[in-house]
Amino acid sequence: MTDTSAEFLPTRKRRSRRILWLLRALAGDPMAVAAAIWLLIVVLAILTDSLSLLGDNRISLKARNLQPFDFGQSWTLWLGADALGRPLLVRLIQAASTTLGIAMVTVLTSLIGGTLLGVIAGYFGGIVGNVIMRICDIILGFPTLLVALFGLYLFGPSVSNLVIVLAVTRMPAYIRVARAETLEVRERLFVDAARVFGGGPAWILRTHILPSVAPTMLTLASVNLAMVMLFESGLSYLGLGIQPPSVSWGLMVAQGQGYLSSAWWLGFFPGLAVMLTTMSFNLLANWFRIVNDPSQHWRLVSRRR
């Protein structure tokens, strides 16, 4: 029960302090810095691509399976060319926007849906809550791959279906966490206080529970981003996710499999990209968790032994 900041600062100064602290905290974790840089590169690459600054990406069967690391070529060919002679680097970047885009939309969908359902299940309990939780159990009872397979078979493998299927399979995790958090927050005294002031369920959910649950859910989302990416890659690899001519990292690995012994780079680089990006999300999520947990702050600031 110590009072750590009894002295007060003006709002603006406080904000700039917070930013400074974040920077300091980032500097205290070199892996997080590396992760942030990698993600920055990926995002920048996607941006340049979306502004179509990357130049030629035409099929050129003569450049089929061009070797990588030939630095005499135009820089887009430094990672070689794919089976249709397109620069692998450009393909990787295009795949990045699909893969990341799907991951983002999926996570956002399941985050919003899962949080709402979970908070409702947690706050009201009763029949509604029970129904929600039982549905979660059933979804979780199926092997995840199977749900995805079903979904994609029922509705056909398209990007939007992939997103829906992934979001549905991931949603139970959010619902569970949101519900558990809500059950805990619901018992907090400030919620009781709000009820004593006459706050109804809607008010309490909006002003007290959702904001309290949000940070946990965001952390979960950042971890899930990584998971969804892996999962999408897996599905695309099986031929159930992204279909050519669209391209995603997982699909690139799958297509590269046919060239395993003749052109290893086709499968190697996209897999590596998945790994690095996933890892970056995980590392940043970790960092984020520590930043938001005062009891672990020392990890980020002190190196004294």
Partner: protein, 478 residues
């Protein structure tokens, strides 16, 4: 020399029932290894050669007589005689069993077999069937002990090898059969395993895990150990000629002109693949050598499209290209390339790669009336060597996968099927020409080759039948 040989194929056999040898996965293991048919087709010219039957003749237009080989026994000890053949024929035609051979090769034909004596057999057909012996090459004869009401997983035949074990999901083992009527095989033990990935299969020969690997992708099949052989398959795009804008012949022609077949061969397709102008390879009876091959002419394609557009054909409508994942090596790459080529010629083409089951929905009727204009990736196999195995159904009005409805063509095909000799050849050639040149409801791509990788120390050269047979008894170690 080692006494064991391992062959790696793509898929696990579906069943090992002798009546299912119409599926190449089953047939590769069974045909001429475990079970044999009355006759074989010569890999050289497609002529019919003796196997379990030593001779045959046509008694009248509806009756054939076969003389059976004597002294042949099945692996289970039962003697091979006319009863075995009659039983096998009955099984194959039993609708309850839904045998591949009955449903595909013998389709539309009622065969009635009758034993004259244990070695003489009469087969009567309900319609004229000039190539009955040819068709009999597809009917493998299993032991009469094979159950009549269910498919078997433990076939017993007369072949040089008998089934040792089928470990589901893993392998099929064969051992040489001591009582074989012909020459003893050189290798007493053979194992067939399956791996879905071409690169893996290829690597397995290198690592010594297998001695023969089939269906190697072009990019892997570049070493000395790789043998390319024509596999009787012709790849093509089937154009849905009933839906606008594809109901306009100019548009279909433009499609054909827009595809750079020369660019595809040697890159995505194997360099030995031949540009196709019709749906059967030259080895097939009825092949028409006079049909011109499509040239790559995007300019002409553009002008044809423009002309159609001027006539009010909705050429800007989106055309879907339905592909089937894994139909042949590099199947999706080939369509990606083709899609790009079509786009270059001004087509609004979208690619959709499908798993087998949804692809079949597109291939087979019934189709939705207001469907999108589409092009479908497919390939047609004709290992039997006669045009009749290709034309009906695929190109006749009543066919369940035909996009042509044309009475004249139907008549050509029906007449050809009944005719023999040069007349048969002429009619079929005419039919092929009509399909390729007048109807243009296909964009033929290539007469395909399969690549098999054979270990250096193994004496085996795959032939045109290697897609359906592994002639284990002819294989030996050097």
């Amino acid at each position: 020399a080692p006494d064991k040989l391992t062959v790696v194929v793509t898929d696990e056999p579906k069943s090992l029932d002798p009546c299912d040898t119409d599926l190449s996965g089953n047939s590769r293991i069974l045909h001429n290894n475990i079970t044999e048919a009355l006759v074989n087709l010569s890999p050289k010219d497609g002529s019919v050669v003796p196997s379990l039957a030593t001779s045959w003749r046509q008694l009248d237009s509806l009756t054939w007589e076969f003389k059976l080989r004597e002294g042949v026994t099945f692996h289970d000890g039962k003697a091979f005689d006319t009863h075995a053949v009659i039983a096998a024929l009955k099984r194959a035609q039993d609708p309850a069993l839904a045998c591949e051979v009955g449903l595909a090769t013998l389709k539309g034909l009622k065969l009635n077999a009758e034993a004259v004596n244990p070695t003489t057999l009469l087969i009567r057909t309900d319609v004229v069937e000039p190539i009955l012996p040819n068709k009999m090459s597809a009917l493998d004869i299993g032991s009469p002990a094979t159950p009549g009401d269910a498919k078997t997983r433990t076939p017993a035949g007369t072949g040089p090898y008998k089934l040792e074990a089928w470990t589901p999901g893993q392998s099929v083992g064969l051992v040489a059969y001591d009582g074989y009527w012909g020459n003893k095989p050189a290798i007493p033990n053979a194992t067939i395993i399956w791996r879905a990935e071409s690169a893996v299969r290829a690597a397995m020969v290198d690592t010594g895990e297998a001695q023969i690997a089939y269906e190697i992708a072009p990019q892997d099949g570049t070493t000395e150990e790789d043998h390319a052989f024509p596999n009787a398959e012709t790849s093509l795009l089937r154009i849905d000629a009933q839906i606008a804008p594809l109901n306009d012949r100019r548009v279909r022609e433009a499609l054909n002109l827009a595809i750079d077949r020369d660019g595809l061969v040697g890159t995505i397709f194997h360099k030995d693949a031949q540009k196709a102008m019709q749906v059967v390879p030259p080895s097939v009876f009825g092949f028409n050598p006079d049909i011109p091959v499509w040239n790559y002419d995007p300019e002409k394609a553009k002008s044809l499209v423009a002309a159609a557009k001027a006539d009010g054909v909705p050429v800007d409508k989106e055309i879907v290209i339905y592909g089937r994942i894994g139909i042949y090596p590099n199947s999706s790459e080939s369509l990606e390339a083709i899609q790009a080529m079509l786009a270059d010629a001004g087509f609004n083409a979208r690619l959709e790669m499908l798993e087998t089951s949804p692809w079949l929905k597109r291939l087979l009727k019934p189709w939705n009336k207001d469907r999108q204009p589409s092009i479908l990736q497919t390939q047609i196999d004709n290992a039997e060597g006669d045009a009749v195995f290709t034309l009906p159904n695929r190109f006749t009005a009543d066919g369940n996968q035909s996009t042509i409805i044309d009475a004249g063509l139907d008549k050509l095909i029906a007449d050809g099927s009944k005719a023999t000799g040069d007349e048969r050849k002429r009619l079929f050639q005419q039919a092929f020409k009509y399909i390729a040149v007048d109807a243009v409801n296909i964009a033929p791509l290539f007469h395909m080759v399969t690549i098999a990788r054979v270990a250096k120390n193994v004496n085996y050269t795959p032939d045109v039948q290697a897609g359906n047979e592994i002639k284990l008894k002819s294989i030996s170690y050097r």
